[in-house]
């Protein structure tokens, strides 16, 4: 159990997917304009990450390895991710059409979020078991969510300020993200898996 908690903790803070490993930067910049949107995005990505890591683990261990077709790993993971993104989009448009509208193209783009495929591949490389794989996915999702929510709440404040014109929008967001990742360096050296 401690092992599982440690997996989440390490994936969320110490090796934060976004701020330390620099995965999934596209949605970080795209979907962090407003806190509500960021929250929706964080939840959707979390759902995709968890479903995808569970599904890809099952496919790998139940189909690919027994039938000795491991070279299909990448392409079948992509298939799984695509499907779970589609499912999440359907779910979101049902639960909150407003959020669906606000997030727009960024929901389908979760499929191309390298963090998602990254989690699936890292799980497979690190030879984690099912529970570990799911917790790792969830931890990555928590880390992504934390980064996204913090950045969006900061952006709501900075966007209202008198920022020099060349730095308005994406530049200042990237600088903020950079300083965030400096702050997250404070977690280096913490116990991790």
């Amino acid at each position: 159990m401690t092992e599982l908690v440690l997996i989440i903790f390490s994936a969320a803070l110490v090796n934060n997917f976004v701020l330390v490993q620099f995965l999934g930067l596209c949605p970080l910049l795209g979907a962090s304009k407003k806190l509500e949107g960021a929250l929706g995005m964080a939840l959707s990505t979390g759902l995709v990450l968890t479903i995808a890591s569970a599904l890809s683990y099952s496919i790998e261990h139940l189909l690919l390895i027994p039938f000795d077709v491991e070279y299909l790993r990448l392409i079948s993971f992509i298939l799984v991710i695509g499907a779970s993104v589609q499912f999440t989009e359907l779910l979101l448009s049902r639960i909150s059409p407003l959020l669906h509208q606000i997030l727009g193209v960024y929901i389908p783009l979760i499929a191309s979020n390298c963090a998602v495929l990254g989690v699936a591949l890292l799980n497979s490389n690190a030879a984690r078991n099912l529970a570990e794989a799911i917790f790792y996915g969830a931890g990555a999702a928590v880390g992504f969510g934390i980064a996204l929510i913090l950045l969006s709440s900061l952006r709501e404040r900075t966007d209202e300020e008198d920022i020099p014109a060349p730095f308005r929008g994406p530049p200042i967001t990237l600088i903020t993200a950079g300083i965030m990742s400096i702050a997250f360096l404070g977690f280096t050296g913490f116990p991790q898996t």
């Binding site: 979907a31 304009k33 407003k34 949107g37 496919i59 189909l63 690919l64 039938f67 000795d68 077709v69 070279y71 299909l72 392409i75 079948s76 298939l79 799984v80 499907a83 589609q86 499912f87 359907l90 779910l91 448009s93 049902r94 059409p97 407003l98 669906h100 509208q101 606000i102 997030l103 727009g104």
Partner: protein
Amino acid sequence: MATATVIFAGIAIVLAILLIVSSHYLSTTENEVIDKIESLLPRIQCAQCGYPGCRPYAAAIVTDKADINLCPPGGNETVRRLAKFLGSDFSPVTKYSTTANLNEIAFISEELCIGCNLCLRACPVDAIVGTHQSMHTVISDHCTGCRLCIPPCPVDCISLVSRNA
């Protein structure tokens, strides 16, 4: 090779079926979004955006991805609000130079009006009253200053005046 093909196709088919089933249960309505966007528009129904009214424009933004900078009466302020709500980028209104606004309302000159009824039909908010062959008038509290009544008037008897005058 054959196993690989079968397995891959199998995964794809199973996922496809799951998605089709879930899409059947998870159908969506977009009315809520349209309502919200409509409430951000000035709603003076001037049709200058190219859509017959504010609601059709709101619907177009949601479904057809129409540009958000087509509303001249709302001006850049409205674009800013829409951009903030939709999380898209701001670009200034370019469509018209003179715009309809709530501070001006239509006024029908008594001497000139011939009671042709054309303006009455053009008014989107029923702010003009009058009947055939007699003088028409504008209910100032109802008029939104959309200027749609001006082009149809055959005798050019409609002008715009300040709302408070």
